[in-house]
Symmetry: C2
Subunit: 355 residues, 2 copies
Amino acid sequence: MRDQVTISLDAMGGDRGAEIVIAGADLALVRHPDLKLVLFGDSTIIAATIKSYPRVEAAALVEHTDVSIAMDTKPSQALRHGRRVSSMWRAIEAVSKGDADAAVSAGNTGALMAMSRFVLKSLKGVERPAIAAIWPTERGESIVLDVGANVGADADQLVDYAVMGEAMARTIFGNPSPTVGLLNVGVEEIKGVEEVRKAGRRLRDEDLPINYFGFVEGNDIGRGTVDVFVTEGFTGNIALKTAEGTAHLIAAYLKAAMSRSWMARIGYLFARGAFNALREKMDPRSMNGGVFLGLNGIVVKSHGGTDAMGFASAIDLAVEMVRNDMNEKIAHGIELYQVQRDNAGAATPMEAVAK
Amino acid sequence: MRDQVTISLDAMGGDRGAEIVIAGADLALVRHPDLKLVLFGDSTIIAATIKSYPRVEAAALVEHTDVSIAMDTKPSQALRHGRRVSSMWRAIEAVSKGDADAAVSAGNTGALMAMSRFVLKSLKGVERPAIAAIWPTERGESIVLDVGANVGADADQLVDYAVMGEAMARTIFGNPSPTVGLLNVGVEEIKGVEEVRKAGRRLRDEDLPINYFGFVEGNDIGRGTVDVFVTEGFTGNIALKTAEGTAHLIAAYLKAAMSRSWMARIGYLFARGAFNALREKMDPRSMNGGVFLGLNGIVVKSHGGTDAMGFASAIDLAVEMVRNDMNEKIAHGIELYQVQRDNAGAATPMEAVAK
């Protein structure tokens, strides 16, 4: 457990840039008074805001950058124009240089992932990084990955995701043996794509130190049937956003229901405390932060449209993962799996030939 | 618009079989007094239940079958053992023989789809049928397909889904020009699988009589951004079930919030009418029924665990589609698209060669 943690922040990222980043950093510093920060961005803009936040001013080093990556910049363009000189690049680079333990950005996901892969490189044995989200469930919280780093995944990559998600669950839930499930469809006839079935066989048959539960379906996510839900990025991204849309829809229904009559409005006044608690529980800001898993360094993506409270949650998440050595846990898990895979390869000559 | 509609029912399908099917039929007959029914199943079981429902007894013909398909039977087994002799098979066969206009079953989805394909065959020009679901949205209702008939879909199949979903939206929403969107992921870098992009280009560039909106994301479903959401069956199935899980989770939050204090409980009493309205709005039974699109006949799959009210909704849906000639609309749409596709093939020799 590390005591001194330094987080680098892309102060220009997100829909509202420095204003939210600095206000969020201020909230995070209340919870983590020993935290150190490095802010990358336009020093004039940062200076104008930071003076209202003495806590941030005291804890942060400001590094000037000339270039900001816009929210709609394509990853290839971001790499071309933002390499070495953008606030986003420099925040990630601080991690690779050892100047920070983790980076947080509310900038555009595609650019952030492209730069993170370029600067930090994948962990040994990991073919492709994934983005993990923390999901509220009836049993507490679960992790879902990949929610959009890549489209499609083969069996090896799905098993990588399982290993990485399991390490993240151990880190942030403090659960020594989190359960892992593979998202699949329930219809017998089609029982999923071949790669999902193959990944399922590996997770079941190989002697990995993973508490593999089996296949799970979409409705198991809300139930919290397992601690880690593994799927490829296209489906994961659509599932995540579908859930957000559903929560929004129900909130709209609830609002309409509570204003439809005088009786309902009086009821609302009495139950206001309960409604506030519910609102807090459903608040997407408290779950803000997609974690990039499988890189030589920790990067957390905050929602671009979040506010200070949401950005502070993303910083919290980064701090927690640094304090609990998440990347070492992932690297260790991947290494174990590699050994398994290589042994399995040697045991079946036909497979070795096929390779 | 047809006046006389006959629906065949698999009286043995679903978790509770004849009991729910007959009670559901009774509710449907209140709304559609002219409806005729054919019930397939064990005549002893049916006779024991039907005598409590004189309305059903008067409107229904009962056809005895010896075999019922269990909820966990694999489609291949269902075809082997249930061919010609099961209640499910016979209900579908009634549609192909012209004895019924549509079939409804709460039996297992895989078996029902396999038998429907076998008995009814695909509509001319449709490679694969899809399952469409009606989804509540902030703007009313939308259609999402495929929610699990097949895993994966190529560009041609996605365009077929778009054509079929559009026809269904015209039929059940009475909207002469429903909008159609393709589900995709938002991250710039990966902007979806090649097949989705290809389908998007076709829907945009070819001169189909479809009001194509463009790509949409998961959160657009709850918003009701378009009338028809098109995706392949793996993602669609997981999105549908994820939304169900989210609704269940929020209902649990709400229940907990409303019982956490005396004030909240008093508020609940005042707002009880509003809560009941909300519950009705969120009731999955009112949206019950997955529609099999792209077959020579209409088949509606009811949720296996539904009650009489839910089963009645599935019958309603079947009646509505028969009354409004949905299959003729789909067949016409597919034919137009076929002509377009063939013309397009002839217009670009390179493509013709590649074919």
